[in-house]
């Protein structure tokens, strides 16, 4: 026992002797760590702390998990919460089913050597991503407007006028319509990431596949897709985080009450109303923090599932 301890101590001393304290590591890390701590980690813990208190008679009182009990137990809160969560899941599903496949398809088309004007398409598709939400929300509200919008006229042009309805005003369509607007805005991101991944596939691999007679669609499914799977994983998790943090588009297009009849209410707008209040509703920072904490946990859970279950099983190829 004693000798063992001695040995470890000796070894430690040896390593210490061999490796002087590398101050520069700390010095170079410090700015990022400090900034990240000050602006991300401290506020995060501030939020967690805030969610455990409640304002009673103008003073903050510790209530433990009381706010969470209200959030899940009081139907006035829980109905809205589950509605927002359900809508948020649907918002995410649309993105996964529409945005990402389209992004992959576009990237595959763009990387095709026979396509001309690649740079133009790439830019044109990516541009909406850098637009402000306010512009996107407003522009699409105008496009889809039944009164001044282009959509009803264009549809009339091709004889589809009867299919036009005021989508943003109908409970059953509004959320899907807005999800698709968001897809339109952000399809450039999966496209770019996949495009980069596709370009990084070495020509030798492709040539080898061709020698083996794997061409065309089969080449995409059997050679390229497995090679870009890690990128698709990254995109999925980015979409997940982005969607469960979403707020801006709904707020600019539908307002904080996320009408009609709360059908477009997602966690972000629900949080906003609780935290900041709306019109005569006075904001309740504590309940808001509780919602924010749940959002954080949902995102954390999603990211963990990805990191520990999905990412470890993805095979990576080294060239």
């Amino acid at each position: 026992m004693a000798t063992k301890l001695m040995a470890t101590k000796l070894m430690a001393a040896e390593t210490r002797a061999k490796r002087p304290i590398r101050w520069h590591v700390g010095v170079f890390l410090a700015p990022a760590v400090l900034v990240y701590t000050a602006f991300m980690i401290l506020p995060l813990f501030g939020t967690l702390q805030l969610s455990l208190f409640r304002n009673i008679e103008q003073s903050q009182v510790f209530v433990g998990l009381g706010n969470f009990r209200t959030l899940f137990g009081d139907p006035n809160w829980s109905v809205n919460f589950w509605n927002a969560l359900r809508n948020n899941v649907w918002f995410f599903i649309i993105h996964m089913l529409v945005q990402n496949p389209i992004g992959i398809l576009l990237a595959a088309l763009l990387s095709s050597p026979r396509l001309r004007f690649t740079a133009f398409y790439r830019t044109a598709i990516f541009v909406p991503t850098i637009l402000s939400f306010v512009i996107v929300g407003f522009a699409w509200k105008l496009i889809l407007s039944p009164i001044w919008g282009v959509a009803p006229h264009l549809m009339d042009f091709v004889g589809l006028k009867s299919f036009f309805t005021p989508w943003l005003g109908k409970e059953q369509y509004a959320l899907t319509a807005l999800s698709l607007v968001s897809v339109w805005q952000f399809v450039g991101i999966p496209m770019m990431l996949i495009y980069a991944a596709l370009l990084s596939i070495p020509d030798e691999v492709i040539e080898a596949a061709e020698c083996d007679g794997v061409t065309g669609m089969a080449q995409f499914w059997k050679i390229k897709l497995p090679l870009i799977l890690p990128s698709i994983g990254i995109i999925s998790i980015l979409t997940f985080v982005g969607n469960f943090n979403a707020f801006d588009l709904i707020y600019t297009a539908q307002g904080a009450l996320a009408g009609p009849n709360y059908s477009t209410d997602i966690l972000g707008t629900f949080l906003y109303r609780a935290f900041f209040g709306f019109q005569l509703q006075v904001g309740d920072p504590n309940m808001g923090a509780a919602i924010a904490t749940i959002m954080f946990l949902i995102i954390l859970a999603g990211v963990c599932v990805y990191l520990f279950l999905v990412q470890t099983r993805l095979r990576r190829y080294q060239f």
């Binding site: 103008q58 139907p75 006035n76 809160w77 509200k141 889809l144 407007s145 039944p146 009164i147 001044w148 009803p152 309805t165 005021p166 989508w167 943003l168 005003g169 109908k170 409970e171 539908q254 307002g255 009450l257 009408g259 009609p260 009849n261 709360y262 109303r273 709306f278 019109q279 005569l280 509703q281 006075v282 309740d284």
Partner: protein, 419 residues
């Protein structure tokens, strides 16, 4: 006057150094407000009128953006850097400031007797004992109509509900105009211009509103459900795709002359006067039978209070006394047609449309929006729910009875009226 004072001040400083400063220095009062739109009116009309009568007091109007106002004001009050005079939002937001001790009690301010109890209610404690803001202006609900369209179609201004719907039918049958310009996309149009506009005739204004607060009436009672039933009847008269029609869409449809009737708040008058190319008129919400007492929503919207931490209490009080005077009311109401003075002494206004609106005060009984006092303090918030349900009723998502029941259930969950 100004130059003289300035010379005196300069002389004072040059001869006596810093000791002379205090003698000739003017007191400057700062006004906090969210009405950035009114900046020129304050600067060119209101403030000079006050300063001319009160030498030695300078007033600065310093507005912030409406959406930031409450947060910014709260921060400034906490830091002690807020202005001397504070523009008050109606009801709970100001009441909260008063309870925190940010607003001074001005119940005994000379001039407060110029206001009726309804006018003062928005800035009083629940028991009505202390007032903390001078009422400045209210907005009145009604319907603005396109006079040219009415003349062309030979429609008389409707007095009763039957006439109102007959007029709508006639406009619809003719087809030139959309009968009514309103959408449900922004929700609040349906509640504010719809439910709160026509409602007071059913629940008899103040009588119903106060009974609701006391718990003697419920939102499921017929007088509270009927307005929803009437709203549901509006649906066929609204434009194509009204579900996605926003508030600016409605305004534009009307001012472009494409719609005949606009369920309105009087704050539209200023904008409509500059945009509409046709003659406009207005009528109050129609009553059931000719000769019935009419009730209008004459909603208190803006007041002004005194920052309890102000260093210039006496001067600020002087300013508030002036705000409570008919002088102020006349300038304000004329500069901003559609924002009506709450002063009991009648104010002379030039704008014909504004005159029409304010004339209803003489023949109808005034009330304020039913959801604003006390009833929107809890969760779910009655005002927000009323927005959602009014839109649902028009869209046909909820029946009037179901909507009323949801509202009452929500209210019951937190509001226990004093027995």
């Amino acid at each position: 006057m100004k130059t003289k004072l300035l010379t005196a001040l300069l002389l004072g400083t040059s001869i006596l150094g810093t000791t002379g400063m205090a003698l000739a220095e003017d007191v400057t009062l700062n006004i906090e407000s969210w009405r950035g739109d009114d900046l020129t009116i304050w600067k060119d009309k209101l403030i000079p009128a006050f300063e001319a009568k009160n030498p030695g007091i300078k007033v600065v109007f310093a507005p912030s953006a409406p959406t930031e106002y409450d947060a910014a004001l709260g921060a400034k009050l906490a830091a002690g850097s807020a202005g001397d005079l504070i523009t008050c939002r109606p009801f709970d937001k100001s009441l909260e400031l008063f309870k925190k001790g940010n607003l001074a009690d001005i119940s005994s301010l000379p001039g407060m007797e110029n206001f009726s109890p309804v006018a003062k209610a928005a800035w009083q404690t629940d028991d009505g004992k202390s007032s903390f803001c001078v009422p400045m202006a209210s907005v009145i609900h009604g319907f603005i109509y396109n006079k040219d369209a009415f003349d062309k179609l030979g429609i008389k201004v409707p007095q009763t509900r039957d006439e109102f719907f007959a007029a709508l039918d006639k406009i619809k049958a003719d087809g030139t105009y959309i009968p009514m310009a309103m959408g449900t996309k922004d929700l609040w149009e349906a509640a504010t211009m719809g439910y709160q506009n026509i409602g007071p005739n059913y629940w008899k204004g103040e009588e119903g509103r106060l009974a609701l607060i006391k718990g003697k009436q419920k939102l499921t009672d017929p007088q509270w459900v009927e307005p929803f039933k009437e709203l549901a009847k509006w649906k066929p008269y609204l434009g194509d795709g009204f579900e996605a029609q926003t508030y600016p869409d409605s305004q534009n449809l009307f001012t472009l002359g494409r719609a005949a009737i606009y369920p309105a708040g009087s704050w539209e008058i200023g904008l409509f006067n500059t945009q509409a190319q046709f003659k406009m008129g207005a009528f109050p919400p129609p009553v059931e039978k000719a000769g019935d007492t009419c009730y209008i929503s004459d909603h208190t919207d803006i007041g002004m209070g005194l920052n309890a931490a102000s260093k210039h209490q006496a001067e600020a009080k002087k300013f508030l006394e002036w705000v409570a005077s008919p002088d102020f009311a006349t300038i304000y109401a004329n500069a901003l047609p559609g924002f009506f003075s709450l002063n009991s002494k009648p104010v002379k206004m030039e704008d014909p449309l504004a005159q029409e609106f304010v004339s209803w005060r003489g023949k109808c009984k005034s009330t304020i929006r039913s959801t604003y006092q006390i009833l929107s303090r809890g969760t779910p918030n009655l005002e927000n729910e009323t927005w959602v349900e009014s839109a649902n009723v028009i869209n046909g998502t909820d029946t009037p009875e179901a909507a009323a029941k949801k509202l009452q259930d929500g209210l019951d969950s937190w509001y226990k009226p004093a027995k």
